[in-house]
Each structure stands twice: as structure tokens, then as C-alpha cells.
């Protein structure tokens, strides 16, 4: 399974699948705010643990699915961890590698940075995997009062995302049969991107415009308001998720503002 295939909605019966889209979005925003509000390793470890628990238990994603969706980012985060640990300055030497001092402060900060990136990506995966884009569009209209034409246009655009990789392959094959060779190197890749991006954009816009024509032919947009057969509603679990998320964010930033918790380097010896 490709990463792009993992990064799309799959129906299911987990707690997170049953949750309304906006409660899940509130959770996503909350995790992002918490992750960016802490440069301390232990806090990031706790947040990563919560998101992993959510992914495995509440959203019932398998470890294989999580790995397939995030392995590229795991490599990137590990490289951040190694590079920042080796290059950032510090005062307390934790240990030495081949004579090079590894500082406790640098490692703490680097671990926090790497985990922050991973947490955000994993929370996005949980959201995308458990949220039907159509339900998200309907929730935007019914709960957030976004004009339904904007919400539906966004829904049309979201439907294009999973097809992008297949589109690129089709464009590549079409160019190959016309004798366009694949190019190596950074300059070649940039030229390739230029060659691929325009047909991709044109193809996506063409598909979308055909969809718009058929929607307008069925009188879409004729009325100022639109009703839905089964609009997603915020359940009691949704209220709990939103309340806990908001409380956690407010409590964390209040603790930071009042100096109750330090912002960084707490693993370093006093």
C-alpha cells in the first residue's frame, strides 16, 4: 500500500470513525497547539503517546498502516534528531561519541523537535483516515455555517488528492510514449516537476469543471440553503473530546504563561 493510499479515508466502526468531523478537527487543532507549545522532550513524549494511543485504540489503525503512512517522516524525524543532537550547543555533556560531546540540552531539544513533527503528521493521518470528506463538507455547512457552495467546492478539490499520484503516473506514461525521457539530478527533477504540474493542474480543473456542470445542471446552488438527509451531529463523546482538548490547551498555555512549567531543557542536570 502506497503512502498516498494510506493517507485517505477508510470506513470503519472505531470510536474515532463514529465521532463527528468537527470534534475530530478540534482534536487535531488541539494536538497541533500542544505540540507547538512545548520544546521539552517529556511533554512531547506524552503527547506522542496520546496520539499513538488514539491511532491504535480509538481509531483502530494497525501498526502496519501507521508505519506505511509515516515511515518517510520517521526517517526525516530521525535525521532531525541526529543532526540537531550533534550540532546544537549545550553545557552539560551527557556522553561522548568518538570524542564528540553530546549535550543533554541538545538531545532534549532535538528529541522534542523530532517528536513534535511526528506527532503532527500522525494526528493528520488519524484525522484523514477516519473522516469521510463528504461528512466534513456537510459538517462545515451544518455546524460551522460555511456557505454550502464553498464547502462542496472544497469537497470536490479534496476528492482529487488521492488521485494525484495516479494522475502523475498517467502523465508520465503519456509523455514516455511520446519519447520524453525521464531526467535525473536536481535540475532534471525540477524540469520534470514543471512538465508534470501543468498537465496535472489542467486535468484536475477539467475534471472539476465537468463535475460543476453536472451539479449546476441539477440546480445545485439555486437555493440559498441546503438540507441534508443525515447531517453529522455532535454526540456526547464529541462534547467530551472537544472539552478535554480545549481544557488541555488552555491549561498548558496558562501553565507556560505563569511559569509553572519550563519551556525547555528540563532533562539537563541542575
Amino acid at each position: 500500500m502506497r503512502r498516498s493510499a494510506v493517507f485517505q479515508f477508510r470506513s470503519g466502526a472505531s470510536f474515532f470513525h463514529r465521532l463527528d468531523p468537527l470534534s475530530k478537527f478540534a482534536w487535531l487543532v488541539g494536538i497541533s497547539l500542544l505540540a507547538f507549545g512545548a520544546y521539552i522532550a517529556w511533554v512531547q513524549i506524552v503527547i506522542t503517546g496520546i496520539v499513538l494511543f488514539t491511532a491504535l485504540v480509538l481509531a483502530r489503525l494497525s501498526p502496519v498502516e501507521i508505519w506505511r503512512g509515516t515511515w518517510l517522516f520517521v526517517i526525516a524525524c530521525t535525521s532531525f534528531l541526529v543532526i540537531q543532537t550533534l550540532t546544537l550547543p549545550g553545557t552539560h555533556v551527557a556522553f561522548r561519541i568518538a570524542g564528540h560531546p553530546i549535550y543533554a540540552e541538545s538531545f532534549d531539544y532535538a528529541l522534542a523537535s523530532a517528536l513534535r513533527i511526528y506527532t503532527i503528521i500522525l494526528s493528520s493521518l488519524v484525522f484523514v483516515r477516519t473522516t469521510d470528506p463528504r461528512e466534513l463538507a456537510i459538517a462545515l455547512v451544518t455546524q460551522m455555517k460555511v456557505p454550502y457552495r464553498i464547502a462542496y467546492a472544497f469537497f470536490i478539490a479534496l476528492r482529487i488528492i488521492p488521485t494525484i499520484e495516479d494522475e502523475i503516473k498517467t502523465i508520465g506514461a503519456a509523455q514516455a510514449v511520446r519519447g520524453v525521457a525521464r531526467q535525473g539530478g536536481i535540475a532534471g527533477r525540477i524540469r520534470e516537476m514543471k512538465r508534470y504540474s501543468m498537465p496535472l493542474l489542467v486535468g484536475s480543473l477539467r475534471k472539476a469543471s465537468m463535475m460543476v456542470m453536472s451539479m449546476e445542471a441539477r440546480a445545485f446552488g439555486a437555493f440559498p440553503k441546503r438540507t441534508f438527509v443525515e447531517p453529522p451531529r455532535m454526540t456526547a463523546s464529541g462534547v467530551v473530546v472537544r472539552t478535554v482538548t480545549i481544557a488541555a490547551v488552555v491549561a498548558w498555555y496558562a501553565a507556560l504563561a505563569t511559569g509553572l512549567v519550563h519551556t525547555m531543557y528540563v532533562l539537563a542536570p541542575a
Binding site: 526525516a76 532531525f80 467546492a153 472544497f154 480543473l205
Partner: protein
């Protein structure tokens, strides 16, 4: 002067520019103009594709920042223009108030959903950069579409957008000159990307026939007819 004061001044300038742009357009009925469904879909598609393509760029940018040490934020600023293209592009195609803002907001949502490592911050960043791109078009009453206006649209995009990034990336401690230099580089990058990419992409899409019904198609039609006649 502290970093907080610097960004307060930057924010005041941005708000003042927006207020001036509002008063320029207040009398000519170009403050609130409705979009057709096709226009909204064009904005959504361009915003989402730019957003999805922006996610690997953001990851590369993060790696770039890590490798470049304290100069990372400045080096990343040089390629930031790529993230601002959706706003000027949609503004240029749709030619209505709010087009750049809506496109960049959708860009931000697409980036959040596709796993951008900068998290929810890109949602706020998308809105802010789109809003400032719109301000540039508003200065000319949404009537002038030259390269200089596009450059201004790209250049204004990072003015408010840099403020949350400074907090989240923790570069406020790097000093006023460092932060000011980062903003100037971002503005230059935004202008350059807008000059190089916006017009060629928009005209190529127009030639491909996927922008029918937009203001750009209407404005360019006499030119296209003349070119066809000459050919």
C-alpha cells in the same frame, strides 16, 4: 526595540494597508462580490494542489533549516515564495475580492490534512498570506493586472504570516536585524515567484480551456481573437 515591538509595528502597517485598500474599494462596489461555483472550484483545486505539493516542500524546508543551523530560517525564507503562489494566481484568474484569501485558506486546510509538519499553524498562515495578497490587488481596485501588481501581491503575502512562525519556530531570540532580514527575503521571494510563475501558469490554463467563465478569460478574449485572426 524588542522583537514584540517590531512585529507590532509590522502588524499595524499591515492593518493600515488593509484599511486603506478597503476605503479605496468602498465606493466602487468591489468590497463584497459573490463567486460563481466554477470560480470557487478553481480556487479550491488550485489551493488544494498547491497545498498538497507544499507538504513535501515544507518537509524539505525543515531539513534545510536543520542543516543550515542558525541561518536555516533565512535560507528557508528564500524558497517561501513557492507557498504564496496560490493567492496571487487565483487573484489574477478570478479578479474578485477575497479570491486570494479563499484559495490560500483552502491551501492551508489541504496542507493540514496532508500531514504538513508545521501543523495547524499553516491554516492561520494560509489565511494571513492570502489576505495580504488580496490587499495588493485591492490597492488597484481589482482593475490592474500587471507584473508589478503581481509582484506586490507576492511580496505582501508574508507580512502577517511571518508573525506566528516567529513564535512557533522560536526565532524571536535571533534579534531584530535577523527577523527583519528574514521578512525582506520572504517578501523578495514572494515577489519573484509571483513574477515568474503566476502569469505563465494562468495563461497556459487559459489556453488549455479550463478557465472558461472567469474574468481572466473575459479580459483576454479580445487579445486571443486578434491573435487568432493574425494567425
Amino acid at each position: 526595540m524588542s522583537i514584540g515591538t517590531l512585529y507590532l509595528i509590522v502588524a499595524i502597517i499591515a492593518v493600515a494597508l488593509a484599511v486603506v485598500a478597503f476605503f479605496i474599494n468602498r465606493g466602487n462596489g468591489r468590497v463584497m462580490v459573490g463567486f460563481t461555483l466554477m470560480e470557487i472550484v478553481i480556487m479550491a483545486v488550485i489551493g488544494v494542489i498547491n497545498g498538497v505539493l507544499g507538504t513535501p516542500n515544507a518537509m524539505l524546508g525543515r531539513l534545510f533549516m536543520t542543516f543550515s543551523g542558525s541561518y536555516g530560517f533565512l535560507a528557508f525564507a528564500a524558497i517561501c515564495g513557492g507557498f504564496y503562489v496560490a493567492g496571487p494566481l487565483c487573484g489574477y484568474i478570478i479578479r474578485k475580492p477575497g479570491a486570494a484569501t479563499l484559495a490560500e485558506t483552502m491551501n492551508g486546510v489541504a496542507q493540514v490534512l496532508s500531514g504538513n509538519p508545521n501543523g495547524i499553524m499553516v491554516l492561520a498562515a494560509g489565511f494571513l498570506q492570502g489576505f495580504m495578497s488580496d490587499v495588493a490587488f485591492a490597492f488597484y481596485g481589482y482593475r490592474k493586472w500587471t507584473l508589478s501588481v503581481l509582484a506586490l501581491s507576492g511580496a505582501l503575502a508574508p507580512i502577517l504570516q511571518q508573525i506566528p512562525e516567529v513564535y512557533f519556530f522560536g526565532v524571536g531570540d535571533m534579534g531584530i536585524s535577523y527577523n527583519l532580514l528574514a521578512l525582506i527575503i520572504r517578501m523578495g521571494s514572494g515577489a519573484l515567484y509571483a513574477i515568474i510563475l503566476v502569469k505563465p501558469i494562468a495563461l497556459a490554463l487559459l489556453r488549455a480551456g479550463v478557465l472558461r467563465g472567469t474574468q481572466l478569460a473575459a479580459d483576454e478574449r479580445p487579445l486571443a481573437t486578434t491573435t487568432q485572426k493574425l494567425a
